[in-house]
Symmetry: C2
Subunit: 433 residues, 2 copies
């Protein structure tokens, strides 16, 4: 082991792990000229020892036992990059041994963050996670440090590249949901099982991590109200365009009294807003701070090298603090009694886009309008298209003024039981940003 270098153990040598190894080998001047920044990879745990690697690794350093990495006395810093199931045990194990941890594991931090941050603080170890949200965009350190003097009022994120890619191509008229999802799978932009991405759960986990920093909110990924893009049809996108909007899968957190709204769902956003113009697989986060006003951070939210860039930036932060004799900076992540709760989704207020198929009969619109009025939902505009070629059904689109989620849900139940309304009522929430 190089004298002065920090001993690194890596768990997981997949895409991101290989990227990290490559960045450490081929460090740019900006990194090489930093004092104290020297790493020595001591041990790497992999699933399959016989697999060919696209980075050169001394085979003696490979092991298929993650515990061997944790127990290696030369390993001071554990880099967990598996995203696999027992990651919790490995991260916990490293912290319990007083070793610093850098991880890209969003699920772990979104669900068990409080426990792990508290353990790190207790053990005097660092736990950093820039790569867990929005890949190479330095959003975690920007929120924790750059915007520390701000009370964050709201945060809007396009945090999932797969769904943004699909929606962008649908918006460009390049196909329907199923077709573009297949394309995305073919080029590796979507997983063989795309559920985590298209359901919004991936974005929900990232939102939970950001909300802990931005709002001292204790909500986990599972606490986030979550609706995916699976039901979005090309006609929704067309209607959005007619109304001056674009549909994005938004992750939204907002201060609401002494609680925090947290939700992930497809949202119509104004076509001339910055977020409406974040396309393809890119991510963006808009933060509204009490002092700075609106800020947007934009970049690649996934991929080998952007994610590896974030991991290595955390590794540099660990080694620089250690060299200075500083303790871990994890204290602010432990919320304890100060945590704000998640606001019940029923109480959220916003504008709604409603689309349904109705029989072209007199009195139908009046009936539906009466139901909405009964829930104190006022109508901002109505679009009624010409009669469909077959069946005598016409599409009816209603845009509401600001209304409460629970009122809208009750109205939808009532509308669904109107005989002239055929099939489900589509609901898309609207965000003016």
């Amino acid at each position: 082991m190089d004298s002065g270098a920090i001993g690194v153990g890596i768990i997981g040598l997949g895409t991101v792990g290989s990227g990290v190894v490559r960045l450490l080998e081929d460090a740019p001047t900006s990194m090489r000229r930093r004092e104290h920044v020297e790493f020595s990879i001591e041990r790497i745990a992999v699933r399959d020892l016989s697999k060919e690697r696209d980075v050169e690794i001394d085979p003696a350093k490979l092991t298929d036992d993650p515990t061997a990495v944790l127990d290696d006395p030369n390993v001071q810093l554990v880099v967990e990059l598996t995203g696999a199931e027992p990651a919790y045990e490995w991260v916990r194990g490293a912290l319990e041994r007083g070793k610093d941890v850098v991880t890209a594991n969003k699920a772990l931090l979104a669900e068990r963050g409080e426990e792990l941050y508290a353990l790190a603080r207790e053990k005097g170890a660092e736990l950093l996670f820039e790569a867990s949200v929005a890949g190479g965009i330095p959003i975690i350190r920007s929120l924790r440090n750059g915007l520390v003097a701000n009370r964050v009022e709201s945060l809007y994120g396009i945090l999932n590249g797969t769904t943004n890619y699909i929606l962008t191509r649908m918006t460009r008229g390049e196909g329907g949901y199923d077709e573009i999802l297949s394309d995305a799978q073919a080029i590796g932009y979507a997983e063989p099982d795309p559920t985590m991405d298209v359901s919004g759960r991936d974005a929900a986990q990232k939102l939970a991590i950001l909300s802990r920093i931005a709002f001292c909110c204790a909500g986990t990924g599972s606490d986030v109200f979550c609706e995916g893009i699976e039901e979005i049809e090309s006609s929704d996108i067309d209607y959005a365009r007619q109304l001056g909007y674009v549909i994005k899968l938004l992750a939204i957190a907002k201060r609401s009294g002494e609680s925090v709204e947290m939700r992930v769902h497809p949202a119509m956003v104004p076509a001339d807003s910055l977020l409406a113009n974040i396309n393809d697989e890119f991510n963006a986060i808009e933060v509204v701070g009490s002092a700075v006003g609106n800020q947007v951070f934009y970049g690649k939210g996934a991929g080998q090298m952007p994610t590896a860039s974030a991991v290595v930036s955390d590794m540099v932060a660990v080694v620089e603090r250690k060299a200075d004799g500083a303790g871990p900076a994890v204290g602010d992540m432990v919320l304890g009694q100060e945590a704000l709760p998640v606001a019940p989704v029923e109480q959220i207020q916003m504008r709604y886009f409603l689309r349904m198929q109705v029989c072209d009969l007199p009195g139908v619109l009046e009936h539906i309008a009466r139901i909405l009025a009964g829930e104190e939902i006022s109508i901002a505009s109505v679009l009624q298209k010409e009669r469909d070629v077959d069946g005598g059904l016409v599409p009816l689109v209603i845009v509401t003024h600001e209304a409460r989620e629970e009122s809208v849900q009750r109205a939808l139940d009532a509308i669904a039981s109107v005989e002239a309304v055929q099939g489900a009522v589509r609901l898309i929430r609207m965000e003016e940003l």
Copy 2:
């Protein structure tokens, strides 16, 4: 003085200084709950002791002698917010006394950064400057830390809010340069003497500060090739629109072999690029990194509270490092032998938009085309409008393929001496981003 608090001395209680005082008084939870983060304002130097202030200050803490702030034994951290002339003496004086410094003074750091960073390192003092570039956007720490594992290839900034406001309104057809500049002065978006902003020098200083971090480039603000927006006419903006471009005052730095291109000038950027859509007084910085690819940071680049937010974030960084017993983190800012030089502007290659008034006679276009060909400048497109109502002059617009700056300048000299060409030839550089 509060026990445990760090003693702060402020030089300058203008707009930003008052904002800092207000943020410290009314710190958000995110800041209050950080360990060790406690400030005690010990001394404030102002120009006029009798002036009414919009923040409450114990009059005993005010002085009109900045040296009294430096010499106060309770002051450990000096916050320099004057932007006024002897700021160099004050910053130097604070560092020489081993006191940490936070400053928003871009001119100072752009011109004398190397000397001051080296002094800070020698004295074991911190010198932080997030507020010197792009107000509340945490671009300095993002480049220094978040993107540390990247070799930055290029950086494009809209770094001056005043000129972006003027160009945005001109692009919206709301008036000519002089008219909108007057409006901007009336609402405080432009100074009574707007030279620093409209000439591009303000942006050039900010570019020098960013380039030191991003490229290890030693160029000062004065080394940046600089052209302002004073000559931009509404017709340039109209032509840009016809060609699918928007005119922005861009600050550009690019790696070019073992040197760095640095320039500030009006540039045509593609209308669908993110930077083309940064409007009004907002700033944005696009960074292209070897690992992360393209990233954009967007927000308010000036104003009381955004700038104060950046100052306070630096103050928090200082106090947290001190509490941890860590030394200053200024070492990476001292370039020494590793500094890259600024590339000569003559050798830069890009596309050019040329506009001139010519007599509507046979052979004129041929003559001009021959001059360009002689300099190996090839023409991408020509726009020739209909004859003007008076004088028999027609506007001629030529867009070139990529060409060398020095060739274009020689061609312009030759074109200017063509008899059929009336008045000066307008040149606007084009950036594809």
